[in-house]
């Protein structure tokens, strides 16, 4: 088992932990944290595979993809937190209200 494979598997497990928490916790801040952890998992997987080149230099393309991904993640987190604060202001709760009447 190589080091890259180890980190790739850690990435997969982080994705799993993130998705699990996203579903079971209802506090919005918790959900947003969970999404960030899940995202880190995907990024870790990407970079870990990039490290498996036969030469000493890793593949730079996944690195660029992850840099892009990190910026997208922080953008999405900022919007999500702003929305969560606003929802709390308006409704007084930090959880999503129940669905529309069915």
């Amino acid at each position: 088992m190589t080091i890259s494979l180890l980190y790739a598997l850690v990435g997969v497990v982080l994705l799993g932990i993130g998705l699990y928490s996203l579903v079971i916790y209802s506090h919005l801040v918790k959900k947003i944290l969970a999404l960030n952890v899940a995202g880190s998992g995907v990024f870790l997987f990407l970079v870990a595979t990039a490290n498996q080149t036969s030469g000493p230099v890793p593949d730079p393309v996944p690195h660029a993809m992850v840099l892009t991904g990190i910026v997208v993640a922080v953008s999405a987190t900022a919007l999500a937190l702003a929305l969560a604060c606003r929802i709390h202001q308006v409704t007084g709760t930090t959880r999503l209200t129940k669905n529309e009447p069915e």
Partner: protein
């Protein structure tokens, strides 16, 4: 439908289902990763063989700003979009310490800010040769901006006209360069080889300014210029009867 309702009685069932499905997903994914075919070197070799004409020496910067520059252009769009969205959602800033900042904080800022700006500039510049570049530099400058905002430095004056422009300059420069190179060489973002280095630096410098301002703004959360009355006016336009709609 009930899955979002974490406080409900059925949280036990939700937990059970989530556990099972996530375990299944993780094991399938883990197995897939385990059985992946050997990683191909092709892309790494392609990047290496084109470094000479990329205008920079750090392969990651070459991919970000040249080979896959279009992704980065859209990504700076994502950042600006996020700033816009936060402004539209939170009309007033989160940080509004009315009390005057402590003299120690001011002193610290006086010492720290020039240092932060120099480090930011250095990281932007070094991105051409070594790890670094617009995003890292922008983030470091944003740290300075956040310090400033906690010290209640009157950003607001500066904010009025210059802020939107500073937020947009990165994306604007990138698009203009991309279109200009397209008119000269036929393809979107196709830098002339001799000028690639300088064009990339221009794009990155503009992007750094925007990234720094946007990240600071995401943190402050809200435009100091806009009062909360803006939102109240908005309410009138979308008259949706809340009681009935909410049911």
């Amino acid at each position: 439908m009930r899955r979002e309702n974490g406080d409900g009685l059925d949280s036990q069932t939700v937990k059970m289902m989530a556990t099972i499905s996530v375990l299944a997903l993780t094991s399938v994914l883990g197995w897939t990763v385990w059985t992946l075919p050997p990683f191909s070197d092709r892309m790494q070799r392609l990047v290496a063989s084109n470094m000479a004409v990329s205008g920079v020496e750090n392969p990651v910067t070459a991919v970000l700003l040249n080979f896959r520059g279009y992704d980065t252009l859209l990504e700076i769009g994502v950042l600006m979009l996020a700033a816009l969205s936060v402004l539209s959602v939170v009309p007033s800033p989160a940080i509004f310490s009315q009390s005057p900042p402590s003299p120690i904080l001011i002193l610290l800022l006086r010492l720290l800010l020039p240092f932060i700006i120099i480090v930011g500039g250095y990281i932007l510049w070094i991105g051409k040769y070594a790890p670094g570049g617009a995003f890292q530099a922008g983030a470091i400058l944003a740290a300075g901006g956040i310090l400033l905002s906690t010290a209640a430095v009157p950003f607001n004056r500066l904010a009025s006209k210059a802020m939107p422009f500073a937020m947009a300059i990165g994306l604007l420069t990138f698009i203009v360069v991309a279109l200009a190179t397209m008119m000269v060489r036929g393809n979107f973002l196709q830098y002339p080889v001799a000028q690639a280095g300088i064009l990339i630096l221009v794009v990155e410098a503009a992007a750094t300014i925007s990234i720094a301002i946007i990240l600071t703004l995401l943190f402050i959360g809200g435009n100091p210029e806009e009062s909360s009355t803006a939102k109240d006016e908005g309410d009138k336009a979308f008259i949706i009867d809340k009681d009935k709609a909410n049911k």
